[in-house]
Symmetry: C2
Subunit: 385 residues, 2 copies
């Protein structure tokens, strides 16, 4: 029986994780739940899973919920509360499904306590991979990827020598605008960008999938998870999303991991690793596989991908800037303040302004807040073409 604390249990990955925990109740016990401020959903989850503790990021909602839960469950409140919560119940594994930069501190805290992390929070590795990697080694904790691409690579590497890996191939659905002419990109609406062909995800990651920034951030993650330079991590456009990613070995052999597009599968793999679960649903059939296509990404249409490779190459605090500027840009697009095609311009503009420094925690925090401020200034003042 493994005990699991979930950071971000009311988001889409959190909800899927709880569905997994329900299905595997003989093997997994949920000891912690957390939300930003979605108290209604959290309350239902508390009733169903009776965790030892919960955490609420929003101070006001958290204080109120703390009163409500008195005698029922312990409630941690605020950013500091989330961190304490992550290590409060001695969970065997912490699933981190927080969105954005907020996922970093709780991850570091859990690693410092030697707790394994099932990581669905991209930003942790993108902005702070240089901090996380030595921390894992020092405290003997493991990082288990939860998104389907990295889980696929992780699965392909089981039993293989890391030194025999020549290249990773991250598959990308190509998003909703794969077939759209580059001339039509200026008129892309929010609704169109939120309409992802294969995966149902949160808004931020759905927009990142449409710009391919999501894939760029995954290249960063893969770099830190699997210790390969960006030039040995390729992105392959595969609209059917059946092949979740691939690894090429030194002898020319390629291994791929395939499956239905159900994020419960990588979640259960991470939570039960190294054991494979005996799941009942979600099997790949010949009808999923009749025609699988692969192509290189069009960088003219999706400049965010190239920008992400460039930031990885620069290193230091540049990836933190990439991530922060992109968060602001996506937010601005979702608020209707900017157009879809303005996202890469904002991100590359902020990156161009940035003087990279070494990726210490302080420098990252500073670079992150600077980048957000500059990005917001651009959004607010620049006449975007």
């Amino acid at each position: 029986m493994k005990t699991v604390a979930i950071l971000g249990s009311t988001g889409s990955i959190g909800v899927n994780t709880l569905a997994v925990a329900e299905q595997f109740r003989d093997e997994l016990r949920v000891v912690g739940l957390s939300t930003n401020k979605n108290i209604d959903v959290l309350r239902q989850q508390v009733r169903k899973f009776s965790p030892s503790s919960v955490a609420v990021l929003d101070e006001r909602a958290g204080r109120e919920f703390e009163r409500e839960m008195r005698g029922i469950t312990r409630v941690f409140v605020g950013p500091q509360g989330i961190e304490e919560f992550a290590v409060a119940d001695g969970a065997d594994i912490v699933l981190n499904a927080l969105v954005g930069f907020a996922g970093l501190r709780p991850t570091m805290r859990a690693i410092e306590c030697g707790i394994d992390i099932a990581l669905a929070n991209k930003e942790t590795l993108v902005v702070a991979g240089a901090i996380i990697r030595p921390l894992l080694a020092k405290h003997g904790a493991r990082l288990l990827p939860v998104d389907s691409e990295h889980s696929a690579i992780f699965q392909c590497l089981v039993g293989e020598e890391p030194s025999s890996v020549r290249r990773l191939m991250l598959t990308a659905s190509g998003g909703p605008f794969r077939l759209l002419s580059v001339d039509a990109f200026g008129a892309i609406t929010i609704e169109q960008a939120l309409n992802h062909p294969n995966w149902k995800m949160g808004k931020k990651v759905t927009i990142d999938s449409a710009t391919l920034m999501n894939k760029g951030l995954e290249v960063h993650e893969a770099h830190w998870l699997f210790d390969l330079p960006g030039k040995r991590i390729d992105v392959v456009v595969h609209p059917q999303s059946v092949v979740h990613s691939m690894v090429e070995f030194s002898d020319g052999s390629v291994k791929a991991q395939l499956g239905v597009t159900d994020m419960k599968l990588p979640i259960v793999y991470a939570l039960l690793y190294p054991k494979r679960a005996a799941t009942t649903g979600g099997r790949l059939t010949i009808d999923h596989m009749r025609e699988l296509t692969f192509d290189v990404p069009d960088l003219a249409k999706f400049p965010c991908l190239q920008i992400a490779y460039d930031a990885l190459e620069i290193g230091g605090t540049a990836p933190a800037v990439l991530n922060a500027a992109n968060e602001i840009a996506v937010d601005a697009f979702l608020n209707g303040s900017i157009r879809f095609v303005d996202i890469p311009h904002i991100v590359s503009g902020v990156l161009a302004d940035h003087s990279t420094s070494v990726a210490t925690f302080e420098n990252i925090v500073h670079a992150d807040s600077d980048a957000r401020r500059i990005a917001m200034e651009i959004v607010a003042t620049r006449p975007l073409v």
Copy 2:
């Protein structure tokens, strides 16, 4: 440095193995070569690789070559000679690329000496899997598959729990008649049947690829290599031959192994296992993968596949009969004695006549020779429609 003896060094797999040995001369040393009666090629190979011993199956050619090689290398002659040869030089691994039933005894002999087998001889497992499996366990020898499909599965299983395997998917190119209407099968010529779209192989296996009997025999092999019943070993038609086979696990995850269609890759994998080689050529590119298709096999067009499944289900000596009858039928087709569509009729006719017994070595030898005799009688006397 691993030492390798090659059974069948003058055939296509043998020649490819020597190309591998030449490329990896720092890791592999060829200590034995053998042929049926292709002395000219063997002589060149002896000059190039200076093996400690060679073997020639044909008695007359062998005696003559023995005289020629006096003082140069030791020559074993005849079926008994091939067996002694297989264990003569204390090779670390014996690559068995003999064709047909003749591969069985040398394989058993090597296993009894605790020597690992790189197996390209299908018949060893098809007819005598029930003998080979316990023999491997008893003598602590390993069986490493050399054909691309089983190598693919073997690679997909590295680091995985055998109990977590739900299903194997052997890919089949579909052969040259995949798109031919069933009505046109009666007019198939030898030349058409020998024209395999993706792989260059020997004649027998090329015809077996055209009837899909080859894939049926591979289902048998997979059964004995990976310990799964036939109903958990599916055949998937994949004309591009990029995915070499797949494994479905209990959690719904599927792993596939991909590569260029170069038999040197599974050969080098088997010979250097568990190490992966650093090969220079033969890399899969996006152009190999632009469109990959998968379909179920058409059993009306390829009855041999169903016959093979049936023989596996029957068990005992039935697979030996399947194999023997098929060898005779293919031979008769290549001699122009029968039509392509007569192959399955002969095989199923011989199988229907056979009273299955337990797969002891004596019973197998007996079933094999009986099946050959009956098949030849059918070829000689039956007015084939």
